[in-house]
């Protein structure tokens, strides 16, 4: 059993309800346009051993759609007992799944991908409903990427081979990849299905059984996905436990029966997760965010061509997903000779971003994921102003009308200031970019690296040598060069410095979910002659 603190036992078994379940009119209207769908439930249990299992203590919490601020369903509020049940189911399935031929595991993951693809517009709609991001993004990015990640890891695992080393004429060292067994995963709320997929696809491909806890702000879409693939995945291979960090996250992360814990979130909880893992001596992977610089050299504007347009789009990328991206290019560094000209056009580009009804395909950004997130972003806009940063555009909430009046909308905001301001140093996780000017490449590199984090960066230049030097010089896990916000399965993603440990995506993730077994064999009858 996992250590259950007395505090958990004293937890209230229910919480104040936010109100009755109220479907959004815009969502219902949007669903009517979708052909392949399943009925949504007003209450979701945990998904354990391939079945819907009610929480042992019977508690539920309200799930609120950030598009309207209304309750859209209730979700199991799990405790340590539920986590234990999920880990039991995972252990019952892990051995068989780990021994299942890779061709069969790959076939199953490909079927999961096919099923997601079949229901893509529906899952995209649910993701928008749950998270607040626009339907344009869930249809064109989140869900297609999830499909591709499952297919990618289905392929990788089939191509993976162990190795053998011929130590001498009759001694051989064999290296096998073995699954870790049962792994725990705690995922964030900014890309609920895609971030789950980043963790699930490699873990399942590598032959592990998983217990995953979605974020309590966006628990619904992964449960809908589970219902869609319930007939495909063997029972117990995927187990979803819902609830709050302290009540469900801790019993999972600190559990002596998991072989690894993977977490995406922030630094304090990241430390807590490592602390729990250290007690059990198990590996962790952590992705803890960043404050990514996006650097624009003067030669970007040397010619008036398609590349300038691409770079300006690259600047505006800070608003993608309402800025709720760990690699949000939330610091822009623009070289002096083009600063005025570039910023004039960049601000216009930002002002052209269409914010509004997330169910309109033309809407580019939607609602922040929750009220507390909305409040936090506004508090940072306040700090920026107090620090003396100049608001070039935005700087306030976007009040919507009708159905969306209760939602959490913030206008894309551009601050102008310097790198010592808190708005340049802290992850706001909103549609806010802080811009500063630089003279020399050396100065740009100093500013870029003057941060506690190192997850992403962007470099925009026509000079290939400059691009190379910055690609190598910036202390961050990914440097997008003349592009930004691309998340292919085939490229490794992860942080330097306080941005975390380990990587996600890319075939190297199989290693993150595998043990190395060395079998050292002598094919000789002769004694060593040592004793």
């Amino acid at each position: 059993m996992s250590p259950t603190s007395s505090a958990q036992a004293r937890q209230p078994s229910s919480q104040p309800a936010a109100g009755p379940i109220k479907e959004s009119g815009a969502f219902t209207a949007h669903l009517k346009t979708i052909e392949r769908k399943i009925a949504l439930r007003s209450q979701y249990e945990n998904f354990i051993g391939g079945e819907w299992v009610a929480p042992v203590k019977g508690g539920y919490f309200d799930n609120i759609s950030p598009t309207t601020g209304q309750v859209i369903c209730r979700i199991a509020r799990s405790q340590a007992e539920d986590v234990e049940r999920a880990i039991d189911a995972a252990h019952a399935a892990a051995d068989k799944w780990g021994r299942t031929a890779v061709a069969e595991r790959a076939r199953i993951l490909n079927r999961v991908a096919d099923r997601i693809e079949e229901y893509l517009p529906f899952l995209a709609a649910v993701e928008t409903y749950d998270n607040g991001k626009p339907i344009r993004e869930t249809n064109l990015a989140d869900l297609p990427l999830a499909v591709d990640h499952f297919r990618y890891f289905a392929s990788c695992v089939r191509a993976q081979e162990g190795s053998l080393g011929e130590l001498d004429d009759d001694t051989v060292a064999y290296h096998y990849h073995e699954p870790l067994g049962v792994v725990g995963q705690i995922i964030p709320w900014n890309f609920p299905i895609l971030m789950a997929t980043w963790k699930l696809a490699p873990a399942l491909a590598a032959g592990n059984a998983v217990v995953i806890k979605p974020a309590e702000q966006t628990p619904m879409s992964l449960l809908v996905l589970a219902e869609l693939v319930q007939d495909i995945l063997p029972p117990g291979v995927l187990n979803i436990v819902n609830g709050f960090g302290l009540e469900a996250g801790k019993p999972l992360a600190s559990n002596p029966r998991i072989a690894k814990i993977a977490f995406t979130g922030e630094t304090t909880t990241g430390r807590l997760i490592m602390q729990y893992a250290s007690e059990n001596i198990i590996p962790v992977t952590l992705e803890l965010g960043g404050k990514s610089p996006n650097i624009f050299f003067a030669d970007v504007m040397r010619d008036e061509d398609a590349f300038v347009d691409k770079a300006l789009e690259g600047f505006a990328m800070f608003a993608l997903n309402q800025g709720e991206v760990c690699t949000c290019p939330s610091r822009a560094l623009v070289q002096k000779p083009i600063y005025e000209r570039f910023m004039e056009r960049a601000v216009k580009r930002v002002e052209a971003i269409r914010q509004g009804d997330p169910y309109e395909m033309s809407t580019q950004i939607g609602a922040q994921a929750s009220n507390d997130q909305y409040e936090k972003i506004l508090s940072y806009i306040d700090i920026g102003r107090k620090e003396g940063a100049k608001v070039l555009t935005g700087g306030e909430a976007n009040k919507m009308s009708g159905d969306l009046a209760g939602g959490y909308y913030i206008k894309p905001t551009v601050f102008e200031g310097h790198n010592k301001m808190r708005v340049f140093q802290e992850e706001i996780f909103g549609p806010v970019v802080s811009v500063t000017v630089f003279d020399t490449p050396a100065q740009a590199l100093e500013i870029a690296n003057d941060t506690l984090y190192g997850l992403g960066a962007g470099v925009w230049t026509r000079d290939i040598n400059m691009a190379y030097r910055f690609g190598r010089g910036i202390k961050a896990g990914r440097v997008w060069t003349n592009c930004y916000h691309a998340y292919p399965a085939h490229a490794a993603f992860g942080g330097y410095k306080k941005s975390g440990i380990g990587r996600e995506t890319h075939k190297m993730m199989l290693d993150h979910y595998q043990q190395t077994k060395n079998v050292l064999v002598s094919y000789s009858d002769k004694a060593l002659g040592f004793f």
């Binding site: 505090a7 964030p188 709320w189 900014n190 979130g265 630094t267 990241g270 507390d372 500013i447």
Partner: protein, 124 residues
């Protein structure tokens, strides 16, 4: 930046609403403390734990006390916050963290004011 950390007993304060919630949490959990987070998702928000749950280390600095609870922060992060004062407030919401108040549909939040103007070194 060579920041000299000046300890300011008035650096961290608390709103009445947050104080009330802290008192409620103390009744449920006993002694509690805060650690300021950074980074992704629910980062840049204060995390509230039972004393002893979160292992403090040599990298942490005690930066204040609110409603009888210690408020801690990573020292490197503190250097970047040193020109501001903070008020711990609370708003409806839950975040996604291990912070004690989340199941109550409440979330602690930092509001800041300036106590010194930050100075740029390299960048104008």
């Amino acid at each position: 930046m060579s920041t000299v950390i000046v300890m300011d007993p008035g650096r961290v304060s608390v709103t009445d609403a947050a104080r009330k919630l802290i008192e409620q949490l103390k009744k449920t959990y006993g002694p509690i403390m805060f650690h300021q987070s950074g980074g992704c998702c629910d980062g840049s928000a204060p995390m509230c734990f039972q004393v002893g749950e979160f292992k403090l280390g040599g990298v942490d600095e005690k930066v204040g006390e609110i409603a009888g609870c210690e408020f801690w922060m990573d020292r490197e992060q503190f250097k970047l916050w040193a020109h501001t004062r903070w008020t711990v407030d609370v708003v409806p919401g839950r975040g996604a963290s291990f912070s004690l108040e989340a199941p109550l549909n409440m979330r602690f939040l930092i509001r800041s004011s300036l106590c010194a103007v930050p100075t740029a070194k390299a960048d104008p």
